[in-house]
């Protein structure tokens, strides 16, 4: 009887340990099919965790610029997740590396594009610059190479947000970013005249895309 009690106690402790290990990002591969029923929210939540952890800031008395890495599985959409192979979709996006660049003016709550403009033309030329000409001014620097952005998407906010957000993609597969001592994003600020701003991102975080398992998967 006593032995049975001890055994059940051990089983209880073992299950507790397993539950505690299921929280957070840890080793394990992304399941191959939607039949594995990972909630899409959990995938996005993990992607956001990684993105937030990789965030690097540059700030001075006037501006705050930040850059973060966006994992490829952040782009998996609801319609993709239904009955399709998630790994295929992820690998499609993983052929590029994606980053999010955010610019903000301290103590200024209007649309950032209006900050310090002299005329309406300035406002529209800023929109034109961020929409069509900013990509060559954003570079990815690895140990072996410097690459300009292949795509730069400027998120229009129409006065609703006080920040400028640029979704940037480089023609460098995510996997190639591993093994670098550091991954740097270099941004040349032509509009607000702050010069060249470098962001150092840790490759360990970028590596996590391969080994994640959404935390709610095991508990659900």
């Amino acid at each position: 009887m006593r032995i049975l009690l001890y055994m059940s106690g051990l089983v209880f402790l073992g299950s507790l340990y397993a539950c505690s290990n299921s929280a957070g990002i840890h080793q394990g591969n992304i399941p191959a099919t939607a039949a594995d029923s990972i909630p899409l929210d959990a995938i996005h939540e993990t992607a956001e965790d990684i993105q937030e952890a990789s965030r690097n800031l540059y700030e001075n008395e006037e501006f705050v610029y930040s850059c973060s890495y966006v994992p490829s599985f952040r782009f998996i959409r609801e319609q993709d997740a239904e009955g399709t192979n998630l790994e295929d979709i992820r690998s499609e996006y993983a052929s590029r590396s994606s980053f999010l660049l955010e610019l903000k003016v301290k103590k200024y709550h209007d649309e950032m594009l209006k900050y310090g403009i002299q005329s309406v033309n300035d406002y529209y030329s800023r929109i034109e610059y961020y929409s069509f000409h900013a990509a060559p001014d954003i570079r990815l620097i690895t140990d072996s190479d410097t690459v300009s952005a292949s795509q730069c998407h400027f998120e229009r906010t129409y006065g609703l947000a006080p920040t400028i957000r640029l979704s940037v993609q480089f023609p460098v597969p995510e996997e190639q970013l591993n093994g670098n001592s550091a991954v740097r994003i270099q941004f040349f600020d032509r509009i607000y005249h702050q010069g060249i701003v470098n962001f150092k991102l840790l490759p360990e975080l970028i590596h996590n895309y391969k080994v994640f398992k959404p935390k709610s998967h095991e508990t659900n």
Binding site: E61, Q194, I196
Partner: protein, 168 residues
Amino acid sequence: MSKKLKYIYPTLVLLALALAAFTLLKPQGQNIVYIDLPKVFENFQMKKDLESQLQSELKRKTQVLDSLKLVIGSMPLETEYDKKQVAYTRNDLMNTASSFDMEHQDHIKDYDNQVFNRLNQYLKDFAKEKGYDFILGAEGSGVIMAADDGMDVTEDVITYINLKYSGE
């Protein structure tokens, strides 16, 4: 014994007061260092990066001007109309060259300002982190006539600003 104790207490009180007064009134040593400003400026990576940016801009502009010169060189000069066309294009070349030149001068000024602003920001951070009250800039103009080499933090500053600039 009790007579001795009678003198010990006031002596201890006096000593404590003297110590407190000394601590409060002693002149505070100010932490002053200096840097070789031109050397810091020359070795700042941002300055080098902006310089190469400026060079590539200049190269692109030179290419535009060269193409215009090539166009002028290949234009026929047989009729009056041709000559007028050449004159117009030459005029265009002159205007483009002069606007490129003005733009280039503006960029040089702008980039210099950007470098100095960033340098000032990093130097403030450096002074704060290391606890320096003053960082003097020696630039060979006679502001600092002589100083102990031990107070020269130029190399430390160069390492610090370049690390900061690289996003560390």
